[in-house]
Symmetry: none
Subunit: 285 residues, 2 copies
DNA sequence: GAAAATCTGTAACCCTCGTTACAGGAATTG
DNA sequence: CAATTCCTGTAACGAGGGTTACAGATTTTC
């Protein structure tokens, strides 16, 4: 499928292995690339050539000898590498060393989760996060929550917690056909929080369209590839979901949800505290 | 010196700050870039646009609004950033994760979550984990799941996933009074998975007592201080729940649940795969 | 030391990608 | 409800970059 198709070694590793096969000037290019990996390879042929003090064709012959059909192909491969590595800056486990990893599959799974949380929080736009917190902390705004087939538990989780600290919180449940019956009542003050990860559900997207059309503020919690609901959403928070498993992981998304809940609760604490005491009072009776 | 000339913030930070200035589709592009930083920006405008599901001109308007003269200029800036960061592989502060970004309480919260996951997995007894996986992978054993006030969403989560890969999975719902009506039917082959964290619910404990009395195998997912249900449980898996927040965190417990689910799914994959295909077949009709 | 083979840069070609004008459409405002 | 503004995709344009042929330079080999 990929241009090279040569095992799963890093391009850098392949260069080191094949270093003796290159001509002198090609080797020059190779060393420059290794010394500025992978940035040099992401530049244009002209820039790369100038950096290595060789000609552009030499650069092309170099990547060609590496087994790539074209220079764009080569760059694509570099970006893919960067992407994998970028998702888990510290976890090189997938590469070089044994894929089993130290500590077996459980440890690998754990590392995946930790990386996901790290990456998720790293990419959270502060303004977006604050805006969402402000919205949810506004007790005058009715809040409605819903999620997809597997993510609805996150909606339920947030619903349960929000209900404790503020009034006017509802979980949209029942048949998809009935969702819109509720949505037609939404207005400018309503907030709709939706959870949707890949294998996105179009019935959710339709609901989002209706809600947004009514003037409601849609908040979307999704994965890094963004649900189509993003089109209708005023605010988007995305979390990493990929792990070494047959399933996608909701851990990072729950982590983000809990962070939002913690911030909301902190924001309205005096009110929330009173409310909690009142609830506990009822409960004990 | 640089193409943009706007301070020394990273591009990611500038995007986060200016997020409100963008038009809806531009914001979509922004989110895609942040979620796949910086790789998405190193692709061609067409690829980037496709990834974000917007048109190429929108991508250009996006980078233009960021203050770059041209798309190549923008890419050059990204590469420079990547270069600086690459020189010190461990210096990830360059991006949002450090104190430069949101930092503060959010970072502390995130660290708490990560620590919880690490500690949780560290203390998981391998034998116990395997035993639980074996139990849940046995399709001849009916499985019933339930949780407490806030943890029931985890029971629902596990139910939803188990149901996909095997038959005989049920979520115990309804009034606490009715729980025991179901429990009287349990026998030696039944497995009851219960989630319970502090502020333990005694109605759950009573249910556990009944189920265990009938010979059912009780599996308990709880916090590090152990729910009283542990008394009746054959197997116990515990997770850390304490974080800098008014709430306890379920993130580590979800992480553990997902690890169990991943292992169960892997264990019975041939069967599960067939089952999934059958389900998808029904779904598409 | 001469001839062959290999290497490497120059220059021209062509194609892709970045760019921009424009029109349809959505949202907003009076 | 009409008018206006803003937004967004389509389509055509033009430049820059990837590519290639070729010739000079260098090394190798007999």
């Amino acid at each position: 499928m990929d241009g090279s198709g040569t095992g799963d070694l890093t391009i850098a590793e392949r260069i080191r292995d094949d270093l003796h096969r290159f001509t002198p000037t090609e080797r020059k290019a190779a060393h420059v690339l290794l010394a500025n990996y992978p940035v040099a390879g992401l530049e244009t042929t002209a820039e790369f050539a100038k950096r290595a003090d060789v000609s552009a064709p030499t650069v092309l012959r170099f990547v060609s000898r590496l087994g790539f059909q074209s220079y764009p192909d080569f760059q694509r491969a570099l970006r893919e590498e960067l992407d994998k590595q970028g998702q888990s800056p510290l976890a090189k486990k997938a590469y070089g060393s044994g894929e089993a990893g130290i500590g077996g599959p459980l440890a690998a799974f754990r590392d995946g989760l930790v990386d996901n949380i790290r990456e998720t929080f790293r990419h959270v736009p502060a303004a977006e996060f604050d805006a969402v917190v402000t919205l949810l902390a506004d007790r005058r705004r009715p809040v409605h929550l819903i999620g997809g087939r597997f993510t609805d538990v996150l909606a339920a989780h947030m619903t349960a917690h929000l209900r404790v600290v503020r009034p006017g919180v509802g979980h949209i449940s029942g048949q998809p056909g009935n969702w819109r019956d509720q949505a037609v009542d939404y207005g400018r003050s309503d907030v709709v929080v939706m959870f949707d990860i890949r294998r996105y559900q179009d019935d959710l997207a339709r609901l989002a369209g209706v809600a947004a059309g009514r003037g409601a503020t849609v908040v979307l919690m999704t994965d890094q590839w963004l649900s189509p609901i993003a089109r209708h959403a005023r605010h988007v928070l995305s979390a990493r979901v990929a792990v070494p498993s047959r399933w996608d992981s909701l851990t990072a998304m729950l982590a983000l949800s809990e962070a939002v809940l913690a911030a909301v609760t902190e924001r309205i604490w005096p009110d929330a505290e009173q409310r909690i005491q009142a609830i506990d009072g009822l409960r004990s009776k």
